[in-house]
Structures are given as structure tokens and as C-alpha cells.
């Protein structure tokens, strides 16, 4: 299997809702419709044996974008599912930690660094952020200014 045959397999399952995709020799990027997001993740994880490598978050100024990276180790390529998150007062998405326990800590990190709430997350506790930073300080957002941090 390679990224393009895998994409065809997923298209068979999800049709047009799989959205636009880009592929290279060892990567496949998907932009699914939000309504099939959870089904798509489940399908890659359970049916295709994808390993959740990590979730990365990008602050794109107008919105956040979460990238769920799955490694298909035996096939030698990666599938990245992109999910835009609107920038509002309390941005939020559904947690996948109940499906893939390995996502729990990754989501906690994103929660405290970017201030994105993961709904139905099993353990919303602080993992990494310094105690000196408040619950409303999100250091990895682009508008967070390191220079103006007070020493305390």
C-alpha cells in the first residue's frame, strides 16, 4: 500500500466527505469534513493499524489547526488528518483520548499551551506549564509575548 492507494481505500469508505488531499511518496494529508472526523480517525487507528505518532497544533493567526499524525509503520508512510479550530473565546474540539489513550498527554499539552479545550477529555490536569503562568496564559499562541514576562 502507498499513500495514493490508501487514499482510494478511504474514499471508498467516506466518499466526497474525505475532502481535499495532498500526497507525496511517504505522506498523505487529509482535510475531512468535521462530521466524519471521528469516524475517520477510528478507521485509520483500528482498521489500518495506524499508530498515533503525535498531534501538532499550529497557530495560523486566523484559526488554529490541529494535525493528527498517524504512522503506518509496516507500510512506511504517514497519514496526517488536519482539523481546523475556530479562534473564539474558548476554542474547543472533541477529545480522542477515550479512543486512543496515547492522545491523553498530547491533548493536555495542547490544552495548556494553546488554550484549546478538548471536550470529554478523561483527565484535564496541568501537565507541563509552569506554575507561574496562569490558567489564561497560553505561551505557544503567537500573540503571547515572552519578552514581557515578569519574573516571579
Amino acid at each position: 500500500m502507498n499513500p495514493s492507494t490508501f487514499k482510494e481505500e478511504l474514499s471508498g469508505r467516506f466518499g466526497w466527505k474525505l475532502g481535499q488531499s495532498q500526497e507525496s511518496e511517504d505522506r498523505l494529508y487529509l482535510n475531512p469534513e468535521p462530521e466524519i472526523f471521528e469516524k475517520l480517525i477510528t478507521s485509520i487507528y483500528e482498521e489500518n493499524g495506524g499508530r498515533l505518532a503525535t498531534i501538532s497544533c499550529v497557530d495560523e493567526d486566523s484559526q488554529f489547526r490541529l494535525l493528527y499524525h498517524f504512522a503506518l509503520d509496516a507500510e512506511g508512510f504517514m497519514v496526517t488528518v488536519k482539523l481546523p479550530v475556530e479562534k473564539e473565546e474558548n476554542p474547543s474540539v472533541e477529545s480522542i483520548a477515550n479512543l486512543i489513550p496515547g492522545a491523553e498527554w498530547i491533548e493536555r499539552e495542547i490544552m495548556e499551551m494553546f488554550g484549546i479545550d478538548f471536550l470529554n477529555h478523561p483527565a484535564k490536569k496541568r501537565l507541563l506549564k509552569a506554575e507561574a503562568l496562569g490558567d489564561k496564559d497560553f505561551p505557544y499562541r503567537k500573540d503571547f509575548d515572552v519578552e514581557n514576562l515578569e519574573d516571579n
Binding site: D26, R27, R51, L52, A53, T54, L67, H69, A71, D73, A74, G76, M78, I100, P101, G102, R126, L127, L128, K129, A130, P139, Y140, F144, V146
Partner: protein
């Protein structure tokens, strides 16, 4: 009845400040609450304000004893993002340092494993042989730690043929000693009693929690990034992925000791095959915005 035991944030057994709240029932740990943020330095945030070729110096300091693997991953990601070619000789040098780092890191881990269970002979042995690897790294890169060899597009410094040849006798000794250590560990009834069947991570859990490296391989998952997503010159070397099915601490020790032996033969192959001349750096000047994997 369950008892809670706090360990940390400062404890002589730990390398860094971490806090564990263990819940134990007699000898068995049934739950743990972990706090790991004491040393969080926000390296990702700091990197945003650096140029692409300044970042390796920062990323090299993510971990105090693995100053090659982190900048290697970073450089691969930048090269993937910018379609940057890496010269052959640089690929050999990168892989060489990477495998030497694996040897010292695995020996360090095995030594600590021995130390933690109160078996300091293993600790003394493993760390004694590890010294030789650190000396080799000093010979080849100039530093025992923080080798500063990586840069996007290649490596920072040459490695001379004469230095490579000088490394051979040390590798021979290391091979003998690692084999001896492997045999001794497997043979020892005390170690077996303390390690066998302890801390079992079943295959399904290893996958669900996203375990990687020797940990996942000791739980029967054959994932190895060097084989699955080959980089450097791994696809040209003769080596095998070590796996064990048991998933206990003994299996994790075994995987690491056997990988040490694999790494030594890989280093020898690299010394045999590495070209003596040729560029070591493609000197990229710009990297477009984007995403890459490393």
C-alpha cells in the same frame, strides 16, 4: 490496603525534577500520578525567533545525554520541508554518530536499571564500557557530549580516515564486553528474579499508548523508524530489528543489550564503507514555510 508514596520532585534516583505519586498495594504499583513540568523550557517557543540554522544548537539541548537524536530529527524535518539534498558523506557521518550515541545511551540505561534494583555490579560494568564510547565520540567529534555535528543540509565537521581507523580497536573491545554483559545479565538468577515478569506492557497497550523504540520492540511491536522510514544510510547497512514478545523489564534490558551489539556492527560497516572525500554540507540558504517530518 492501598498506600500512597510520593517520590520527588527532587530525589537521588532521578536525573531531573519529576514528581510521582504512587499508589501501591503491597509490592504492586496500581496507579501513578505524574508531574513532569518542572524543567519545561519552552524550546518550541524559543525556536520561533531563531533562523532555521540556529535552531539545532537549541534543540541539541533538549536532552543532556542525547545531543544527536533531537537535532537529527529537526534537520530531517527542515530538509523534508525544503527539499534539501544531503551529501553522501554527511549521511554516513550522521548515522555513525547516531549509532555511537545509541551505544552509550543503551549502556547508560542498562547501568541505571541495575542501579535501581540495587545491583551495582551491572551499573559499574555498563558505565565503565560506556566511558570508552564517550572517548570515541570525543575523538571523532571533539566532544564527549553535545557533539554539535548536525546542521540542516549536512554536518558541521569532517571526520578523518585516521580517526575512524583509530576507533576500530575500541569497537572490538566493546563488542566483547557487551557480549559478556548480555550473557552475564541473562545468566544471573538475582537479576532474573527482579526483572522477569515485572512491569509488563502488553502489546495492545504499547500500541494504544503510542510506545516507541526499545520499549515497543520489547512488547512485540516491530516498529523501528530506522527500518520503517529509512534515513541516513540505514537502508544500506546490514542489521536487524530486535524484538521480544514478553513486554517485561527483562525483555527491555535484552532488547537494549542486543541493539548495542547491532549498533557496534553498524558502526564498523560505516567505517568500512564511508567515502573519504566529498562534500559534507549542501549549504542551504533558505527554507520555505511549510511542514516536514523528521
Amino acid at each position: 490496603m492501598a498506600t500512597t508514596i510520593p517520590i520527588g520532585p527532587y530525589h537521588p534516583l532521578q536525573e531531573e525534577p519529576e514528581h510521582y505519586l504512587l499508589t501501591v498495594e503491597e509490592e504492586e504499583v496500581i496507579d501513578v500520578d505524574v508531574q513532569i513540568g518542572y524543567n519545561h523550557r519552552g524550546i518550541e517557543k524559543l525556536s520561533e525567533k531563531k533562523t532555521f540554522n540556529q535552531v539545532p544548537f537549541l534543540v541539541e539541548r533538549v536532552c543532556g545525554i542525547c545531543s544527536h537524536s533531537h537535532p537529527y530529527a529537526y534537520c530531517l524535518a527542515v530538509e523534508d520541508c525544503g527539499d534539501i539534498e544531503v551529501p553522501e558523506r554527511a549521511k554516513y557521518i550522521r548515522t555513525l554518530i547516531g549509532e555511537l550515541e545509541r551505544i552509550h545511551s543503551h549502556l547508560l540505561w542498562a547501568g541505571l536499571a541495575g542501579h535501581f534494583i540495587g545491583y551495582d555490579t551491572v551499573f559499574m560494568w555498563a558505565w565503565k564500557y560506556r566511558e570508552d564510547v564517550l572517548d570515541l565520540l570525543e575523538l571523532l567529534t571533539g566532544n564527549r557530549n553535545a557533539y554539535a555535528m548536525m546542521k540542516p543540509g549536512g554536518v558541521q565537521r569532517e571526520i578523518n580516515r585516521s580517526d575512524l581507523e583509530e576507533a576500530r580497536p575500541t569497537l572490538e573491545t566493546l563488542k566483547d564486553k557487551s557480549e559478556m554483559l548480555y550473557g552475564a545479565v541473562l545468566d544471573d538468577p538475582v537479576l532474573k528474579a527482579r526483572l522477569e515478569g515485572v512491569g509488563v506492557l502488553p502489546k495492545e497497550d504499547a500500541r494504544a499508548f503510542g510506545a516507541l523504540g526499545p520499549t515497543s520492540r520489547a512488547s512485540g511491536l516491530p516498529a523501528d523508524v530506522r527500518a520503517d522510514f529509512p534515513y541516513g544510510v540505514y537502508d544500506r547497512l546490514d542489521w536487524k530489528v530486535i524484538t521480544r514478545e514478553e513486554g517485561d523489564t527483562l525483555a527491555r534490558v535484552e532488547v537494549r543489550l542486543l541493539e548495542t551489539l547491532e549498533a557496534i556492527t553498524m558502526v564498523e560497516q560505516i567505517i568500512d564503507e564511508m567515502p573519504d572525500t566529498g562534500p559534507i554540507d549542501s549549504e542551504p540558504e533558505e527554507v520555505p514555510p511549510g511542514e516536514g517530518k523528521g
